[in-house]
């Protein structure tokens, strides 16, 4: 049972990596990061359930907090990108200054 949970977690994480690499829309890149964080949390819960310990669920709570913080800053940056370049294409800001 734990094996299946870990396989589901690995599958979700792999889909997140594929989305992160394949998409150039910054909104969908953030979505892919969410999927990956969620998959990592699922793995923690599965491990905690397998050993009958509460630590897995506590780690999931921390991942929840990190995901919320990451989304807030990421979406603010997305708004700035849209304001500066008029698009949400991550390649629009591929050049550094200097």
């Amino acid at each position: 049972m734990t094996l299946w949970a870990l396989l589901l977690s690995a599958g979700l994480f792999a889909l997140g990596v594929v989305g992160l690499l394949a998409r150039r829309n910054l909104l969908l890149i953030l979505v892919s990061i969410e999927v990956m964080l969620n998959a990592a949390g699922l793995a923690f819960v599965a491990a905690g359930a397998a050993w009958n310990q509460a630590d897995g669920q506590i780690m999931f709570l921390f991942i929840l907090a990190v995901a919320a913080a990451e989304v807030a800053v990421g979406l603010a940056l997305l708004l700035q990108l849209h304001h500066l370049t008029g698009s949400v294409d991550a390649d629009a800001v591929s050049r550094m200054k200097g």
Binding site: L8, L27, V35, V45, A54, G56, A68, V71, A72, L79
Partner: protein, 182 residues
Amino acid sequence: MIVLFAIAGVVALVATALAISRTNAVHALLYLVVSLLGVAVAIFALGAPYLAALEVIVYAGAIMVLFVFVTMMLNLGEAAVRQERQWQPGRGWIGPVVLAGILVAALGWVLLGAGPLPGIHTVSPRAVGLRLMSEYAVGVELASMLLLGALVAAYHLGYGLQLKQRGDAARVAAPKREEVAR
């Protein structure tokens, strides 16, 4: 219960695959909500009902509202409007609704005759809370500081945006900032 986990896992994988392959951002977000609900059901099947509720409330609720809100704020212009006009009624939302319906049916079927998963122990919310507030108290404080930092950073980035969008506001707000600095 093992059937519930299998159904939830398949729904989550399918919804995620559809979410990362949509060209329309709103469609992708709809599928992502279904994916998060699927993971929540899987977590419920793994003996963590408290976290399943939190996943629905925080991930599928609060974080998704942020995404949808920003998508609306972006207002991608004429192209998006034309795209919206082209939508056939019932085409965009029918996939997520079907997947969510499968999840609800599976959950209702299990709740009628629920039994614990083989080889899985249910960890009670009480045990989680006790450890969280004793051994992991430092982690809770660090998480609160992280959230405060994210709040300040998001406010800062959004504040600059407002100044640039409204020329009048910039002229009014600029002296105020200097006063605050003094």
